[in-house]
Each structure stands twice: as structure tokens, then as C-alpha cells.
């Protein structure tokens, strides 16, 4: 009988050892097993934190009572989709929903006062909020301005790097992808198959040939390199310009470009002058200059990853000439071109562009706060000052005159980008620019607009035709915003805010 008791003791020991094996030794690997639903269930057990625009949440949560309980909702999905991205039970997260996921989902250890509290208590902090830099009126104007055409708008506050608007068109409602089930998979398949790619974030994830807007970069390179010391002096550029080493003749759309000054060449967008200047700066000098603006940098995070804008590192001289006027293999994201405008407006310095001002706990206590820092010094300050004047000239008496706003200093540059094999694709009309209120010490906004426009056949006129009005309305709203802020600052009483009508 004692042996029988010993046997039972042995069985008990086996059970206990096995329990320890399963619950302690093997537990980490069992917990991580992809088929174990607990991790993903815990993730959706509590409502997700919100993404805020102008202090108001543009996201929400819907309690479904299902296994993956809380589903993401979006108040204005298509408008903010290039900012928020989607948070789907089925397809994961993108953009801010992805980069800020630890805060939004409550998994971040920063959300709690005591580092290991939630590990010990096996609870999860309520999801924190993400406060964006986006300004609702600017975002809406840009989105409405594109009116469903393929295109994008990126707007930055040059002095701080805050991204004020980030629009991609056509867009989609990320709320369609929240949850599980056949509607979600159906929506996903439909969105992915759509010919105009509504889920593509054109503002930061698509690169376009920048066309003539790139001439600002080449001009800055030429002035910084000392090749142009007087913007009003003739540049010796022949018209037409035969690309070095070839028999290809580079024409101009504008007239009067023969031996024109840099000021004239920027104002009327002379291909010949800027192509020759690019060749004079040389490949090494150009690479140096474009890198200072952010080209060839694949590591930019806003905190969403931004596609790499390209300027080829190995070029023959004739291709260097084409690249210098934004053709050949030169491509840029709309955000990159907004950074070019911001660099000019901000005296040569590019503040690090960012979308997230701060993150907070669900109670509003700060978790992280963006600290302003310099991204690059794109050009020397005197160069920036001269370029500012050249860009103002473009708007006041040149190709970009329909971007002008009374009572403000507006600088701009137009462009048209052909694309497709043999340039058969619908051309993209470009406008980059910046705006500074009269009497204000700093520019209010730098903006880049790219829009696919079937009527954009002719250089410059087209860029001004369809892109410039969108840029104008966004800049106008930014100036109005700034004026309102200033008025509120001077006269804090409510109701006395002077209404400034554009």
C-alpha cells in the first residue's frame, strides 16, 4: 500500500512538473504562437486612443462586442486618410496608426507612471491620444481644391517644420478596413484593384518628376557655388542649348532666354539657363546641393516614412543638364518640394518636418512632445534671400501670377512634369510656393501642389493654371489663420476677434 501511495505521489509530482513546464518554461513561446488569439484580443479589448486635428478627434472607436472588440472609426476618413492611415483587425496598421501604435493601443510603457505596473497587474493602459500638426481648414481646402483629381498637397510651416496639410487624392475611407469579415476583405480587394490607387499616399509615398520647380534647387546650387554672383547679370547661356556631347537641342517654352540673367530665367522658367548652370556646378556640386535639400535621403520620418526623392548619382553631362531642370531621373515627393519652398522662405534652413506635435495619455497628460530641430541647411542665408525675391517676382510678374494674394508676400514657382513612355501620360502640373504676411517676421506657410491635369500641355502656364489656385487658397487660409492667432493673442477677449475675409 505504501508503494501505491508512492505511485500517487509520483503522479502528483509529474503533474506539478508538467504544470510548471507549460505555465512557466514554455509559456513565452506559447504566448507568442501566432495561433494564440490572446495577444490580439488584448489589443482590441479597450477603445483605441484618438488622433487629434485642431484639438478635435478625427478618429473614434466602435464597440462591436466581438472577439476583437473595438473597431476603428473615422469622422472624415478620406480627408485625413493620408495622415491617419488605417487600423484594421484584418490588415494591420499604416501611417500614424502604425508609427504611433504603442501610444494609441495603450502598449507604450510611457503611458504609465510606474514602468512595470501594467506587467505586474496584467492590465493595459487606456490608449493615449496623438495630437497632430494638421490644420483642419487648410487640409479641407487642399482636399476640396484637388476635387478628386489625382494629385497631392503638402504644406509646412517653414519656421517650425510643422506639417499643416497632407492631402492625397483620390482618397479612401480607412474605416472600411476596420474589423473582420467579408465586407472588410471585399473593401480591401476593391481598393487595391482600383485603377486610381486611392490607398496610395501621394503626398509622401509617391515621387513625381518635379519639372521646372526643381530649378529653385539648381539656382540655389549655382549661387552657393559662386557660379552666379549677380542674379541680374547675363549668364552666357545660348538659346537653343545643345546638350553637351550630344546633338540634342534643349528648347525653351519661354521667350527671351538667350543669354538671360538668372532672375529672368527663374521668372519665365528658361530651361537653357538652368540646364547650363547645372552643368557648370557639376555632378559633385549638384549632388551636394540636392542632398542638403533632402534628396537621396531615404531615412526621413515624419514619423511616417517618406519615400526617397531621387537625383541620380551617376550621370553623363547631358543627363546632368536634364536632371538639373527636374527631368530625366529626377523625382521628388510633394513633401520634398514643399521642403524646397520652406528652405527658401526660412532663410536656407529646413526645420525637421513633422506630423505629431505631442502624444498624451487618455487624461491629456503629456507623454512625448516634439522638439524643434534642424533637418538641413539647404543653402546660405544670402542665397535664400535672393531666391525669395526671385520667387516673389514669379508671382508678381511672371508665370505664377495667379497665386498672388493682396496684402501678403508670396513666392512661387510653377512646373509641368511629363511622364509615361514617350510622355503620353497625363502631365502633372506643379506649383511650389510660400506666403508671408505683410509686417510678419516669418513666413506662414510653404506649400507644394501637384495635380494631374489633362490641359497641362504647355510649360508653366499649365502649372499656374491648375495647381497654383489650390496653393493660393491654402496659403490664404494659412495667412488668415495666422492673423486670427495674432489677433487672439493681442485681444484675448472672445467676440472681438477681427474677422479677416480673404
Amino acid at each position: 500500500m505504501r508503494h501505491a501511495a508512492a505511485l500517487c505521489l509520483l503522479l502528483l509530482a509529474a503533474l506539478l512538473v508538467n504544470a510548471a513546464r507549460v505555465q512557466v518554461l514554455d509559456a513565452p513561446s506559447l504566448d507568442k504562437n501566432p495561433a494564440n488569439r490572446r495577444t490580439v484580443m488584448a489589443r482590441y479589448a479597450e477603445p483605441r486612443g484618438d488622433i487629434l486635428v485642431d484639438g478635435r478627434p478625427v478618429t473614434g472607436s466602435r464597440d462591436t462586442g466581438q472577439q476583437l472588440r473595438h473597431e476603428r472609426t473615422y469622422t472624415e476618413g478620406p480627408l485625413y486618410a493620408p495622415v491617419t492611415g488605417h487600423a484594421s483587425q484584418t490588415y494591420g496598421t499604416t501611417l500614424l496608426e502604425s508609427t504611433e501604435d504603442p501610444v494609441l493601443s495603450g502598449a507604450s510603457p510611457l503611458l504609465t507612471l510606474f514602468p512595470f505596473w501594467h506587467d505586474l497587474s496584467r492590465t493595459r493602459a487606456p490608449g493615449g491620444d496623438v495630437v497632430t500638426t494638421i490644420r483642419e481648414p487648410l487640409q479641407r481646402l487642399a482636399y476640396d481644391g484637388l476635387a478628386g483629381r489625382r494629385g497631392a498637397v503638402a504644406a509646412i510651416e517653414p519656421s517650425s517644420g510643422r506639417i499643416l496639410a497632407l492631402v492625397s487624392s483620390p482618397s479612401y475611407d480607412p474605416g472600411l478596413l476596420s474589423g473582420t469579415g467579408s465586407e472588410v476583405t471585399g473593401a480591401w480587394a476593391r481598393l487595391n484593384a482600383a485603377p486610381d490607387k486611392p490607398m496610395l499616399n501621394r503626398a509622401i509615398r509617391q515621387t513625381y518628376p518635379p519639372g521646372s520647380t526643381f530649378k529653385i534647387v539648381t539656382a540655389a546650387a549655382a549661387m552657393d557655388a559662386g557660379i552666379v554672383t549677380d542674379v541680374d547679370a547675363p549668364t552666357d547661356a545660348p538659346e537653343p542649348y545643345v546638350l553637351p556631347g550630344t546633338r540634342t537641342v534643349l528648347p525653351n517654352e519661354a521667350t527671351g532666354c538667350d543669354n538671360a540673367s538668372l532672375a529672368y530665367a527663374i521668372r519665365w522658367s528658361c530651361n537653357t539657363v538652368l540646364a547650363q548652370l547645372g552643368v557648370k556646378v557639376g555632378l559633385a556640386g549638384m549632388l551636394d546641393a540636392v542632398a542638403r535639400f533632402g534628396f537621396n535621403d531615404g531615412s526621413l520620418r515624419i514619423p511616417t516614412a517618406v519615400a526617397r526623392s531621387n537625383f541620380d548619382t551617376e550621370l553623363t553631362v547631358d543627363r546632368l543638364a536634364l536632371s538639373a531642370i527636374g527631368q530625366y531621373d529626377t523625382t521628388a515627393t510633394p513633401l520634398q518640394m514643399a521642403m524646397v519652398a520652406a528652405a527658401v522662405a526660412n532663410g536656407g534652413e529646413i526645420a525637421y518636418p513633422h506630423l505629431v506635435e505631442r502624444t498624451t495619455t487618455s487624461d491629456g497628460d503629456p507623454v512625448t512632445q516634439h522638439v524643434r530641430r534642424t533637418y538641413q541647411h539647404a543653402m546660405r542665408p544670402p542665397t535664400a534671400l535672393r531666391l525669395q525675391q526671385l520667387m516673389v517676382d514669379v508671382v508678381e510678374g511672371g508665370s505664377g501670377s495667379n497665386a498672388a494674394i493682396p496684402g501678403a508676400r508670396i513666392g512661387g514657382k510653377t512646373g509641368t512634369a511629363q511622364h509615361g513612355v514617350g510622355n503620353v501620360g497625363t502631365p502633372y502640373a506643379w506649383f511650389i510656393g510660400w506666403a508671408q504676411a505683410e509686417g510678419s517676421g516669418r513666413p506662414a506657410i510653404a506649400v507644394a501642389v501637384v495635380v494631374e491635369d489633362a490641359s497641362a500641355k504647355r510649360e508653366d502656364i499649365s502649372g499656374a493654371g491648375s495647381a497654383a489656385p489650390i496653393a493660393r487658397s491654402v496659403m490664404e487660409a494659412a495667412l488668415l489663420d495666422e492673423a486670427r492667432d495674432e489677433a487672439r493673442h493681442l485681444a484675448p477677449r472672445k467676440g472681438t476677434v477681427p474677422s479677416i475675409r480673404p
Binding site: M1, R2, H3, A4, A5, L7, C8, L9, L11, L12, A14, L15, L16, N18, A19, A20, V22, Q23, V24, D26, A27, P28, L30, D31, N33, P34, A35, N36, R37, R38, M41, R122
Partner: protein
């Protein structure tokens, strides 16, 4: 001769204590722990004490009190630990089932379980009152085995439920007769071996005859082997078959002290399990699941029941998620019955699981020590057999749901949903209390002349 006995009775001074006060205070603790668990589930799930917590506590308390009174009046010298352990395990089981009911509002099992528990306690009291001396059962040995066979064979004529033919369904009412057969078989084995252990031990001594044992000696072994294999084949119930055979081997060993019988028994069991495991698809599938619990995941069909069970145990870790906060309902089918231990493991952690195992171990140990203290061989074997049933059952099902051995459908004693099982376990505890009362009473009340106490000295 008495001086050379291997198992001397406990010192007389200890045996004079009735220990009913100890039992009562332990019962109060057991009820309070159960009610606390019930309240904890409510607080964790709804942030409020369940409205019927007081009623639940009063009901459980009343059952415990009635059982205690029966023991106090009719078995005053019984072991004071048996009843509190049973009440605590039953109370915990009700809490766990109530907690899982919250996940399946359409299918509530706790009310039925409470009714079955009440019935179990009623039968417990009935056994305590009606059975004055456990030796009375010795006379019913062959009645018992006949009844057991009948109970085991009946479900064959009823349709299989979830792959096993172990249910009798009458209307909406179903129960597993195999559960009751356990007790009857334990009584039969104990009686048969108490009467024949001499012959078994004698023939076992002659090693050269072990190679060609006579049919008379081998008969019962082969009969039980056939019985368990028959259960396995006809009812596809590996667990019950394993339990019967394990019970018989243990009792055979305790009665004769011959390891040779154990070897023969294990050999026969192994051969039977191997053949049936290879041929019978239901049993074969269980073995495959045990060897490769994650095979269905790799096949892209999602985790199987055993994998989900292992996930639940792992999620519990050392301290558990807390009652009401786990996700063991992911196991799905049988989460409240066969896999109830996974809920305990996830929500109470390794700590809670160890405590539950130790409660069972304590129950078994008290049964064995009762057996050691008894002088009549039938009582010794009966106590050992009754204590072995929960021991084997806990090992088979706990080992099964934790991936230690192939999973077999079996109820965790007292914890799991299942009326037949709860009632059976209460009867087992009642019999153990009856036997332990005899063991601990100052005078063996069955010492009247005529009682058969054969060759006590040779019992080990």
C-alpha cells in the same frame, strides 16, 4: 503475530479525538473561499458583487452544514479533512462554471451543476446514515459487479455523443453510467481480492508457474482486461478503460504485494492500448493530437482544443490573470467539463493550480492513511481503491489537458461540469468518511463475532 505487523494502528491517544470542530472550521473556510471566488468573478467582470452572492453562499453553507451534521451524528470519528476538501473543490468548480457561463449566456451550466451538487450531498448524507458499517458492502460484491457491467453496457445501445458511447439519454436528461460503475467495481475488486488474495499471492510465489498460470488464477485478470478493452472498443472511452485497469492493478498489488502481477497487468494494458490505439480511429486521433498538438495550426486550420488548452495554461503563468479575466473560453467545446482545469490554470495561475492539485493529493492521502489504519482487509482495499479513483482520474485528465499524456474524455473530480461525476464523487467521499470513521473510532465497531477478518497479518 500482532507484534510483527507491518502497519501498526495509530497510537490510541490520537484516535480518541473526534476532530469535528476542526472539520466545522475548515468547512467555514471552504465556503468562504468559494463565496469569495464568486464575488471576485462578479467584481472583475461587472465591477459589482453578484446580486445572488449571499444566496449562493447560504446555499453552499447549508449543504456543507447538513453534510457536517450527518458526519457529526453518524460518523463522529471520521477524518476531518475529507468533507472540507470536497466542499471546497465543489465550490470552486461552481465558481469556475459560473465564470464560464458569463462567456456563453445562452448556455448556462452552473444552475444544473448546483442541483447536481445538492443531489450529491443528499446522497452523501444518505450513505452516511444508511451505511452503518462498510463491511456490509462485502456481501454485495457480485451484485456490484453485475450492476457495474449492466451500467457499462447500457450506453452501447444509445447513440454516441462526441465520439464516445458513454451516455444514456432519456428526454433532455443525460448521464454517464460509467461514473457509478467506478464505485461498484471498487467494491467488487476490494471484496474479491480480500477473499482471494491468498491464492493470488501463493501462485505468484512460484516463479516457474508464472509462465503458465492456471486459468483459475489468471481468470479475473484477463476478465478485467477484457472488460476495459471492451469498454475501449465498444464505447471509445479511453479514460474510463484506463481508470478501471489502473484501479485493478493497484488493488491487486496492494492485496498480494506481487510486482509480477503489476508487470503482467501493465503488459496487458500496454498491448491492449497499442492495438486499439492503432486500429480505432477515435483513440488513434487522440494520440496524434497529443504527439503533435500544433499540427492543425501548421495545417492552417487554426489551433485545436489541446493547443488552445496549452495556450490557456501558458497565459496564466505563475500567478494567473485573476478570476473572470482569462480567455479560456477560446477552447470552445468542453471548456466547462473536460477542460475546466485550463480555466483554473489561466485565471489562478501555477500557484492556484498547484493548490488544487495539493487538495486532491490531500484527499487521496487521507484515503490511503485510512486504509493503513484499518485492520480488515476489505476495508483496507476499499479505502485504497476509493482513494485511487480520484488520484487516477486527476492524473489522466489533468495530464491530458496539459499535454503530458494523450487526452481522454474524463471529468475533473468535483470541478468539472457533469452531474453523474459530481454525484459519484460525493458518494466516494461518503464511503471514505464511513471507512475512516471505522479506522479512527476508539473501538472497531465491526468487531462482533462472525465478521470475516481473514488472515490479516499477510495484508500489506
Amino acid at each position: 503475530m500482532t507484534a510483527t505487523r507491518a502497519d501498526a494502528p495509530p497510537p490510541p491517544a490520537l484516535r480518541l479525538h473526534k476532530r469535528r470542530g476542526v472539520e466545522l472550521s475548515l468547512l467555514v473556510c471552504a465556503v468562504l473561499i468559494s463565496v469569495y471566488g464568486y464575488i471576485d468573478v462578479g467584481l472583475a467582470r461587472n465591477g459589482a458583487v453578484p446580486p445572488d452572492a449571499a444566496a449562493y453562499g447560504a446555499g453552499l453553507g447549508l449543504l456543507a452544514l447538513l453534510a457536517h451534521l450527518a458526519v457529526r451524528l453518524r460518523a463522529p470519528y471520521a477524518d476531518p479533512l475529507l468533507l472540507p476538501i470536497a466542499v471546497l473543490l465543489n465550490g470552486l468548480g461552481l465558481v469556475l462554471i459560473y465564470r464560464l457561463d458569463l462567456e456563453t449566456p445562452a448556455d448556462r451550466a452552473a444552475p444544473a451543476q448546483l442541483i447536481w451538487s445538492t443531489l450529491g450531498v443528499a446522497l452523501f448524507i444518505a450513505v452516511i446514515i444508511a451505511l452503518i458499517d462498510h463491511r456490509a458492502l462485502q456481501g454485495y460484491a457480485y451484485v456490484s459487479v453485475a450492476a457495474a457491467l449492466l451500467l457499462l453496457l447500457t450506453p452501447i445501445f444509445f447513440p454516441a455523443v462526441n465520439g464516445a458511447k458513454i451516455w444514456i439519454r432519456v428526454g433532455g436528461f443525460s448521464f454517464q453510467p460509467g461514473e457509478f460503475a467506478k464505485i461498484l467495481l471498487a467494491v467488487f475488486f476490494a471484496a474479491y481480492l480480500a477473499a482471494n488474495h491468498n491464492a493470488l499471492a501463493y501462485t505468484g510465489r512460484r516463479v516457474w508457474r508464472m509462465q503458465f498460470p492456471t486459468g483459475r488464477v489468471l481468470g479475473p485478470v484477463v476478465a478485467v482486461w477484457l472488460l476495459s478493452v471492451g469498454v475501449l472498443v465498444l464505447e471509445r472511452d479511453l479514460g474510463t478503460s484506463l481508470l478501471f485497469f489502473g484501479l485493478f492493478v493497484i488493488l491487486l498489488y496492494v492485496a498480494t504485494g506481487r510486482t509480477g502481477w503489476v508487470a503482467v497487468g501493465l503488459l496487458l494494458a500496454g498491448a491492449g492500448a497499442f492495438v486499439v490505439g492503432g486500429l480505432e480511429p477515435h483513440v488513434n486521433g487522440r494520440v496524434e493530437d497529443w504527439l503533435h498538438p500544433f499540427a492543425s495550426i501548421e495545417a492552417g486550420q487554426g489551433p485545436g482544443q489541446l493547443a488552445q488548452s496549452l495556450f490557456a495554461f501558458a497565459a496564466g503563468g505563475m500567478l494567473g490573470t485573476g478570476l473572470g479575466l482569462g480567455d479560456s473560453i477560446l477552447i470552445g467545446f468542453a471548456a466547462k467539463s473536460d477542460f475546466i482545469l485550463a480555466t483554473a490554470g489561466e485565471e489562478l495561475g501555477l500557484a492556484g493550480l498547484t493548490a488544487i492539485f495539493l487538495l486532491y493529493a490531500l484527499l487521496v492521502a487521507r484515503g490511503f492513511s485510512t486504509g493503513l489504519a484499518l485492520r480488515d482487509p476489505f476495508g483496507r482495499l476499499l479505502a485504497t481503491g476509493l482513494a485511487s479513483i480520484p488520484a487516477l482520474q486527476v492524473f489522466v485528465i489533468a495530464g491530458g489537458v496539459m499535454g503530458l499524456i494523450p487526452l481522454t474524455g474524463m471529468a475533473m473530480p468535483f470541478l468539472a461540469q457533469g452531474g453523474s461525476s459530481v454525484v459519484t464523487n460525493w458518494i466516494i467521499v461518503a464511503l471514505l468518511i464511513r471507512v475512516s470513521d471505522s479506522a479512527r473510532a476508539p473501538e472497531p465497531r465491526g468487531a462482533e463475532p462472525g465478521a470475516i477478518v481473514p488472515v490479516t497479518e499477510e495484508v500489506r
